[in-house]
C-alpha cells in the first residue's frame, strides 16, 4: 500500500512538472523591448514537447509497474491491468482538473494506438506463440474466431437494435446499422486484455491457446465487419444492394488471407536477410523488428488485417531466424520484444483509464446495461454452440468447465475502445453512447471478470499449466509418440493431425530450412540435440549450485586445497557460485531466465524456492551423494555399488568424451582419504602457522584483505561437521569438475552441429578473451601441468582458458593460485601437505612475485 501512495505522489509530481512546462507558452515570453543577446542556454520545451511527453508516459508506466510489483498483496488480488486502469483514471482526473486533456499527447488517439502501441504486443504474442498447441487447435480457433465472432456481432447488434422499441433506453433512438457497427467492435475478444489476464492465471496450454488464438484471429472478422457496417452506414440503409453484402463477404477473405500472406512474405524475407548477417550481428534484432513492423504497416496500408500479418510474420521468423542469428542477437530480440510489449501494454491500460475521464460521454443506463448483459449472454451461448460443434472433430474434447472458462475469458479491451473513438460522429449520431457503453463493457470485463477469473479457475480446478522440467526422456518419448502415431494413422488410413504435422515438418525440412537457413540442417533431429544441450548446461549449473552448500565458491575451494597462503592475494570472487559464472559466460542462459521471470511475474520467489528445493532433493544432487559414498567407503571399507554406479553414471556421461578415465582413476583413491584425514587434521594449524609467516612478508598491498579471508577459511574448517578429509576431498573434486563440466558445454557449443557452426560469436569470444587475458593464461601451462589437484587430466589450456576467460578475476585466481611444483604424475594430497610447511616461505615469495607481476 505504501508503494502505491508513493507512486500516486510521483504521478502528482509528474503532472505538476508537465503542467508547469507545458504551459510555458503563456508564462514564458520575451520582453520585446529587451535587446537581443546571446543566451548561454535556452529553454526550449516546444522543441521536444511531444517526444518528452511520450517518454514521460513510458517512464510513468514503468514506475507504476515497478511500484505495483513491490507490493505483493496488491498484485495477488488484482490483475495488473486493473491497477493500471485505476492509475490511469487518477491521472486522467488530475489532467481533467488541470484542463490538460485538450493536449493531444495525453489522450489515447486511435492512430497512436494502432500504429505504435498495438504492434509490439501482437508481435510478441506471435513470436512466442506456442506453435504446437496453436496448430493442434487451429480448427477450433478458426471456428471460434470467425463464426463465433460473426454470430456474436449479428446477435448483439440486432438485439440491441430491437430493444430500442422498448422503453428501456429512455426514448433514445438507435438505428440498425450503427448498432451493428457497435456490435462489430464490441463483440471481438481483445488479445491485449486476454494476454494480460491469462498470463497471470496459468491455465493449461490448450485452453489458453484457444482463447488467445481466437482473440488474435478474430481481428480479421471484426475489422471487416466494422468496416463493412461503417461504410454501409455511410451509404445509408436504403441504398444498400445485395452486391455490397457480397463484396463485404469477399472482402473478408481478402483481409484475412491478405494479412496472413503479407505476414508470411515479410517473415520469409526477414529470415532470408538474416542468412547474410554473419558479419553484422549487431543488426540482427533490428531486422526482425523492422520486417515485422513493416509487415504490419504494409497491411494497414493496403487495408488488410495488420494483426494477422504481424502475428504470422512473428511466427515464421521465430521458426528460422533463431537458427540463423547469433545467440546474443536471439536473446536481445526476445528481450526487446518482451520489453516493448510489456511497456506498451502498460501504457494502453493507463491510457484507457486516462481517456475515460473526458466530456464526450453520454450515459444511458439501459443501453449500457443491455450491452454488458448481451455481451455476456451471447458469449456464453456462442461458446456453447461452437465448442460443441468443435468437439465433433476434436480429439481432446472441450469439457463444460473449459467452455465456461472460455466464455468467461472473453475479455474486451483497448482495441474496441480505440475503434469506438474513431467512429465518425457525423455519420453515427450515437457515438457518445457507444463510447460510454464500450468503456463500460471493457471495464466490466477487465475488472469483474479479470479479477474473478483467477479464483474461478482455482475453484473449478481447471487443469493448470504444467511447467515441465525439460528431461531428456520426456523429449525423447514425446518425439517417439509423434512418430508412432503418424505411422499408425497412416496405417489405419485416418489421416489425422499427426500425419499433417509430419508432412509439414518434411516440407519445412526439405525446402524452407534449406532456403532460409545459413546452414541447411544436416541431421534429422536438431531439436532433440538442442534439448540435450540445454539440459546439460542446466545440470552443470545445478551441480555447482549444489556444491555451493559445501564450499562458498569454487575459487575458495581451490585456495584451501592448493595454496592457503595466497588467500590474501585476491578479494572474494565476483561470482557467488559457478552457475552465475556460467550464466555470465553463456548468453543463451539469460534468455530462459528472463522469460521465466517474465512469464511468472510475481512468482519468481516461489520459483527460486522451488529451484533450491530441486537442488537439494533431486537427481542432480549427485555431489552430496558422492561425498556420502566416499565416506562410506572410507569408514567401512566396503563399497556401495548402487551409489557408486549412480555417482559414476551421473558424472561419467558428461566428462566421458574428454576425460575418459578421470573417474576411474580418481575413485580408487577413495580409501586413501583416511590417511589424508590424519594429515588434514593439521591443516588449520598449518594455516595458522602460515599466517604469522605471512605477516612478515613484504606485499603490504594485500595485507588489508588478509585477516578477514584467513579467519573465514579457518572458521570454515573448524565448524565443518564432517571430517575435514572428506571436505577437502570433495572440495578438490568440485574445483576440478567445475572447469570440466563447463568445458564440456563449451565444446558442445563449438561442436559439429549446424546450429552451433552458425554462431561464430562463441569462437570469436573465446579467441578474443584468450587474447585479452593472454598475460594471465601465460601462467597456466606451467600451473596446469604441475598442480595435481587442479587438472592432471589431459585438459588443454585452450579449452580451459576459453571457458573461463570471460571473467578475468577467475582467470587470475587460477593463474595465481596454482602452485609451481615439480611435475609428477599424480602426487597424493598427503605429499602436498607434507611439503606445505616446508614450502611455505618459498611459496610466499613465489606468491608475492606472482602477485606483483599480475598487478
Amino acid at each position: 500500500m505504501y508503494q502505491n501512495k508513493h507512486s500516486i505522489f510521483l504521478i502528482i509530481l509528474l503532472g505538476f512538472i508537465i503542467h508547469k512546462y507545458y504551459c510555458k507558452e503563456q508564462t514564458y515570453e520575451h520582453k520585446p523591448n529587451k535587446p537581443l543577446r546571446f543566451h548561454v542556454a535556452e529553454f526550449n520545451f516546444d522543441h521536444v514537447s511531444d517526444v518528452y511527453a511520450i517518454t514521460l508516459w513510458i517512464l510513468l508506466g514503468s514506475l507504476a509497474k515497478i511500484g505495483f510489483h513491490l507490493s505483493h498483496r496488491l498484485t495477488e488480488k488484482f490483475p495488473e491491468s486493473c491497477l493500471l486502469i485505476i492509475l490511469g483514471l487518477i491521472v486522467g482526473g488530475l489532467l481533467y482538473v488541470t484542463h490538460l486533456t485538450e493536449q493531444k499527447a495525453y489522450v489515447l488517439n486511435s492512430d497512436t494506438f494502432f500504429l505504435f502501441l498495438l504492434p509490439p504486443i501482437i508481435l510478441e504474442a506471435g513470436y512466442f506463440m506456442p506453435n504446437r498447441p496453436f496448430f493442434d487447435n487451429l480448427g477450433t480457433i478458426l471456428l471460434l474466431a470467425i463464426v463465433n465472432t460473426l454470430f456474436n456481432t449479428i446477435c448483439i447488434g440486432l438485439t440491441l437494435w430491437g430493444f430500442q422499441f422498448t422503453p428501456l433506453y429512455g426514448g433514445t433512438e438507435f438505428e440498425m446499422l450503427p448498432c451493428l457497427v457497435f456490435a462489430a467492435l464490441i463483440s471481438a475478444v481483445d488479445p491485449v486484455a486476454v494476454l494480460a489476464t491469462f498470463s497471470e492465471i496459468h491455465v493449461n496450454d490448450m485452453l489458453y491457446i484457444v482463447v488467445f488464438g481466437e482473440s488474435l484471429l478474430n481481428d480479421a472478422v471484426s475489422v471487416v465487419l466494422y468496416r463493412m457496417f461503417a461504410s454501409f452506414a455511410n451509404i445509408g440503409q436504403p441504398n444498400i444492394i445485395v452486391m455490397d453484402i457480397v463484396l463485404g463477404c469477399l472482402s473478408f477473405f481478402v483481409v484475412a488471407l491478405g494479412g496472413v500472406l503479407i505476414g508470411i512474405i515479410f517473415g520469409v524475407i526477414g529470415c532470408f536477410t538474416t542468412k547474410f548477417t554473419e558479419h553484422t550481428p549487431v543488426l540482427e534484432p533490428l531486422i526482425v523488428l523492422v520486417y515485422a513492423y513493416l509487415a504490419y504497416l504494409t497491411s494497414e496500408m493496403v487495408s488488410v488485417s495488420g494483426i494477422l500479418a504481424i502475428t504470422f510474420c512473428g511466427m515464421v521468423m521465430k521458426q528460422y531466424v533463431s537458427f540463423n542469428i547469433s545467440k546474443k542477437s536471439d536473446a536481445t530480440t526476445e528481450y526487446v520484444l518482451k520489453m516493448l510489449s510489456s511497456i506498451m501494454e502498460t501504457i494502453i491500460f493507463m491510457f484507457m483509464g486516462l481517456s475515460t475521464v473526458s466530456d464526450s460521454h453520454s450515459w444511458n443506463t439501459g443501453f449500457v446495461f443491455m450491452t454488458v448483459l448481451l455481451c455476456l449472454v451471447f458469449r456464453v451461448i456462442g461458446i456453447a454452440i461452437f465448442a460443441n460443434i468443435a468437439n465433433c472433430w476434436r480429439l481432446l474434447e472441450l469439457t463444460r468447465i473449459d467452455m465456461l472458462i472460455m466464455s468467461y475469458g472473453g475479455l474486451r479491451g483497448a482495441i474496441a475502445f480505440a475503434l469506438a473513438l474513431v467512429l465518425d460522429e457525423a455519420k453515427i449520431a450515437r457515438k457518445k453512447e457507444f463510447v460510454t457503453a464500450t468503456i463500460a463493457v471493457v471495464f466490466f470485463t477487465v475488472f469483474i471478470q479479470g479479477i474473478t477469473i483467477g479464483p474461478l479457475v482455482k475453484l473449478l480446478n481447471v487443469r493448470r499449466k504444467q511447467i515441465e522440467e525439460p528431461t531428456m526422456s520426456a523429449k525423447l518419448t514425446n518425439r517417439m509418440m509423434d512418430h508412432v502415431m503418424t505411422c499408425l494413422e497412416e496405417i489405419s488410413g485416418s489421416g489425422g493431425s499427426n500425419s499433417l504435422r509430419d508432412r509439414v515438418r518434411n516440407l519445412d525440412r526439405n525446402y524452407f530450412k534449406r532456403w532460409l537457413l545459413r546452414e541447411p540442417p544436416d541431421r534429422k533431429d536438431i531439436k532433440l540435440l538442442q534439448t540435450f544441450k540445454k539440459i546439460n548446461t542446466l545440470t552443470a549449473m545445478r551441480v555447482h549450485d549444489t556444491a555451493r552448500g559445501l564450499v562458498p565458491s569454487a575459487s575458495t575451494a581451490t585456495v584451501q586445497q592448493g595454496m592457503p597462503e595466497h588467500h590474501h592475494l585476491r578479494s572474494h570472487s565476483a561470482y557467488g557460485n559457478v552457475s552465475e559464472l556460467i550464466a555470465a559466460n553463456l548468453p543463451e542462459n539469460t534468455v530462459p531466465d528472463l522469460m521465466s521471470y517474465e512469464n511468472h511475474e510475481g512468482e519468481h520467489h516461489h520459483n527460486d524456492a522451488e529451484m533450491h528445493h530441486f537442488l537439494d532433493t533431486n537427481l542432480y544432487s549427485a555431489r552430496p551423494r558422492a561425498a556420502i559414498h566416499l565416506r562410506n567407503q572410507d569408514e567401512t571399507g566396503s563399497s556401495d555399488d548402487g551409489t557408486h554406479a549412480r555417482f559414476e553414471k551421473s558424472y561419467h556421461h558428461r566428462d566421458q568424451r574428454y576425460l575418459p578415465t578421470r573417474l576411474e582413476r580418481e575413485l580408487p583413491h577413495g580409501p586413501k582419504t583416511i590417511s589424508k584425514t590424519v594429515h588434514n587434521a593439521n591443516r588449520p594449524i598449518g594455516l595458522k602457522n602460515s599466517s604469522p609467516k605471512h605477516t612478515r612478508s613484504p606485499p603490504t598491498t594485500h595485507q588489508q584483505l588478509n585477516p578477514r579471508s584467513r579467519s573465514r577459511s579457518i572458521a570454515a574448517h573448524q565448524n565443518s561437521p564432517i571430517p575435514s578429509g572428506q571436505r577437502t576431498k570433495s572440495i578438490s573434486k568440485d574445483s576440478r569438475i567445475s572447469p570440466l563440466a563447463s568445458t564440456h558445454i563449451e565444446n558442445e557449443g563449438t561442436g559439429r552441429t549446424a546450429v552451433e557452426r552458425s554462431r561464430p560469436w562463441r569462437h570469436l569470444s573465446v579467441t578474443e578473451e584468450t587474447g585479452a587475458s593472454s598475460s594471465k593464461t601465460a601462467n597456466i601451462p606451467l600451473a596446469n601441468g604441475n598442480d595435481p589437484n587442479l587438472h592432471h587430466i589431459p585438459l588443454t589450456v585452450a579449452d580451459f582458458g576459453g571457458t573461463y576467460t570471460k571473467s578475468p578475476e577467475y582467470m587470475g585466481e587460477y593463474a595465481t593460485t596454482t602452485k609451481p611444483e615439480e611435475p609428477s604424475s599424480r602426487p597424493d594430497v598427503r605429499d602436498i601437505f607434507n611439503k606445505q610447511s616446508d614450502d611455505v616461505s618459498e611459496q610466499q615469495d613465489d606468491g608475492s612475485t606472482e602477485s606483483i607481476t599480475r598487478l
Binding site: 480429439l395 474434447e397 528431461t471 531428456m472 520426456a474 508412432v484 488410413g493 532433440l528
Partner: protein
C-alpha cells in the same frame, strides 16, 4: 469399396469385434476396407512389405521399428491378420469416459506399447543398447556415436532410480506421469 468390404466381414465377427474393442461398426468397416487396400495380394493378412509400401511409414525414422513391434507382438510369422490388426489399433482409440475404455486402450497399455518400442528383447527392461538403437534411428546418421552415447547415458540416468543402468517399465511410467501420454497416444478413427 466400403460396402464390398463390409459384406466380406461376417456379421457376428463384426459385433464381436465391436464389443471387445469399443469401435463402432462403421469404424470397423472402415478399418476393414483400409486393411483390404493395404492387402494388395488379397490373402487376408498383411506382411512387413505391405506396411512398408505406405510411403509415410517408409520414410518415418521409426517406421521399421514400429513394424517390427507390430509383427512380433501382435501378428505371427511376420503376418498380421485383420483381427490382430484391429486389436492393435484398438489400443489407440481415445477412451474419454470410463465406459468407453476397454482393456485395450488404457493408459497403461499405451505406455506399454511405447515401452515395447524400445524393449525388443522382451526382458522388461530398456538397456543402454536398446536405447542407443532407438536414438540412432531418431537422430539420424550424421551425428557422432559418442554424442549419442552421452545422450543415452543421460537419459538412463534420468529415468533409472534403482541404479541397474536400465529402465524398467515402472521407471518408464513414473517419469512420463507429467506427459499427457494418454492424449498423445490416441487418434481419431473416422467413422
Amino acid at each position: 469399396m466400403g460396402s464390398n468390404a463390409s459384406i466380406m466381414l461376417q456379421q457376428e465377427d463384426l459385433q464381436n469385434i465391436c464389443q471387445q474393442t469399443g469401435f463402432t461398426a462403421k469404424q470397423v468397416q472402415r478399418l476393414y476396407s483400409r486393411f483390404k487396400t493395404l492387402d494388395k495380394r488379397d490373402c487376408g493378412f498383411l506382411t512387413r512389405e505391405d506396411l512398408l509400401c505406405i510411403p509415410e511409414v517408409n520414410i518415418n525414422p521409426l517406421g521399421e521399428r514400429l513394424i517390427d513391434v507390430i509383427m512380433d507382438d501382435y501378428g505371427e510369422n511376420n503376418k498380421i491378420n485383420f483381427k490382430q490388426f484391429i486389436f492393435l489399433l484398438a489400443k489407440f482409440r481415445r477412451g474419454r469416459v470410463k465406459s468407453s475404455t476397454t482393456e485395450f486402450n488404457t493408459r497403461d497399455s499405451k505406455l506399454r506399447f511405447l515401452f515395447d518400442m524400445y524393449d525388443r528383447n522382451h526382458d522388461m527392461k530398456i538397456d543402454r543398447e536398446e536405447l542407443l538403437q532407438v536414438l540412432k534411428m531418431m537422430v539420424g546418421g550424421n551425428i557422432h556415436d559418442d554424442q549419442i552415447a552421452t545422450i543415452a547415458d543421460h537419459t538412463i540416468g534420468e529415468l533409472d532410480s534403482d541404479g541397474d543402468k536400465s529402465i524398467t517399465f515402472e521407471e518408464f511410467c513414473k517419469t512420463l506421469e507429467r506427459i499427457d501420454a494418454d492424449d498423445k497416444m490416441s487418434m481419431k478413427f473416422l467413422s
